[in-house]
Amino acid sequence: MPADLPILIVGAGQAGAMAAGALRGHGYAGRILMLGDEAHPAYERPPLSKSVLLDADGAALAPIHAPDQLAAQAIEWRGGCRVQAIDPVARLAHLGHGETIAYSQALIATGGRAREWPQLPIGTPHVHYLRTLDDARALRESLRSQRALVVLGAGFLGLEIASTARALGLDVTVIESAPRVLPRAVPPALSAWLAARAAAAGVALRLDTRVREARADAHGVTLVLDGGEQLQAPLLVVAIGQVPNVTLAASAGARLHAGNGGICIDAHGRTSVPGLFAAGDCASQHRACADAELRLESWQSANEQARLVAAAMLEQAAAPAATPWFWTDQFGLNLQMLGLPADELRYLTRGDEAVDAQAPRFLLLGIDGRDRLRHVIAVNAGAELRPLRPLVDAQVAIDPAAFTDTTAALRQLARDALAAAPAAATPHP
């Protein structure tokens, strides 16, 4: 393949931008062309549901590359640009209006889009979806002019928006069809704890509640709940999940995962099509800790896959993907989750989980039937997650009594557990 052809990155979000930087970090000196469909240079999405909604002047926005960095690293970025099709045999990307770009290797980092609720499609007046910076700015304006908000969905995004809206002084109702908040991410006990915390912050939580019908009019949205009750929402946010953007990859022949809909990639980020890689929210990858192919929608997973792809494109060695790690900031809490939940885990509590405390601080330690540490949730205790990381990485068995004794230093407990683990349990980075 001709050396002067660019590496093409389709999508200028977390994964795309991090991959571009990682290619330079590996010493790649050829052209990098990054095409994004948004008008803005790459930025971090986590603040969109938090500080960006609170902040009037936009200072809360966190660019992935410092303003002078794109030029310094010779990363060619084009915004407002959509790739219509990729011909992986000829290695050509077709843009609209007849433009064609030849590439050496391509990364599909097309991310995802908000899952649309057919009853209130995107564009309905008084209804917001949140995925992009423009979405966040539009929602910010509405939050400033309204006194009440209804959020559909009690996932991370819905709860973070609810928390921010409460901080802005709005009346907030959250409707969730599942019987608990964050049903896929945390164990039931923590769902209940978080629900109490949200309620203490003044959020009206309607769990196990389905919306039968929705009507938008000049004053907002009227929701008819399953029981017949009507709810008026002058402002409504639909936060019911994400759909991966896989059309481009699929049309290029890349295999999709039948279960999660993501683009199947191997341990190095390669799709089933030669020369074509994928990373980020749109990609599905086997994760050792769950022994399953998963499409993880997370900042860290995007970064990790970007790192793997950059190394693989340049045929360099790379450490395997790190254990999944997520965070959320809501209702005065910083929650960090390391590893993944599983039905067979039971959770130990280390610390005091008083709901009404100003700054509660505790750990939930998820262990399996052989007492191996598989999942840790740190509530306002991010620093304590750190010494546990090698234990979760290697699924090391812990002594439940010792680890729930807060008079014993966690750092030493972790060292002892690691030292006592069989030699086979070597942590990977």
Partner: protein, 101 residues
């Protein structure tokens, strides 16, 4: 810049941190990898105090989003931080730690 007495050497164990202020400035004293370090205490990514973070091998990891900084240089070691924290000269005299703030 002026040399300011921050703490007694015996106050801080290995891999420990201590916040302090000079005027409006939030600063941090670290004891790691056999040396004392003084830096700005606020993470350059988002507001969090690095003294609440995890200290090991001359680095501190922010408690909020796991950004890591080298305490000797102030340089970020990984995302999400892209900008360094400011570091200050440190000296130990007569069991007291001084920083040039």
């Amino acid at each position: 810049m002026a040399w300011i007495k921050v703490a007694a050497q015996a106050q801080l164990g290995e891999e420990e941190a201590m916040p302090f202020t000079v005027g409006d400035a939030q600063l941090a004293l670290f004891h790691s990898a056999g040396a004392f370090h003084v830096t700005d205490n606020v993470c350059t990514h988002q507001y969090a105090l690095l003294t609440d973070g995890y200290v090991e091998d001359g680095c501190v990891e922010c408690p909020l989003h796991q950004a890591q900084f080298d305490l000797r240089t102030g340089q970020p070691q990984c995302a999400p931080a892209t900008r360094p924290i400011r570091i200050y000269p440190v000296k130990v005299e007569g069991g007291e730690i001084y920083a040039d703030i």
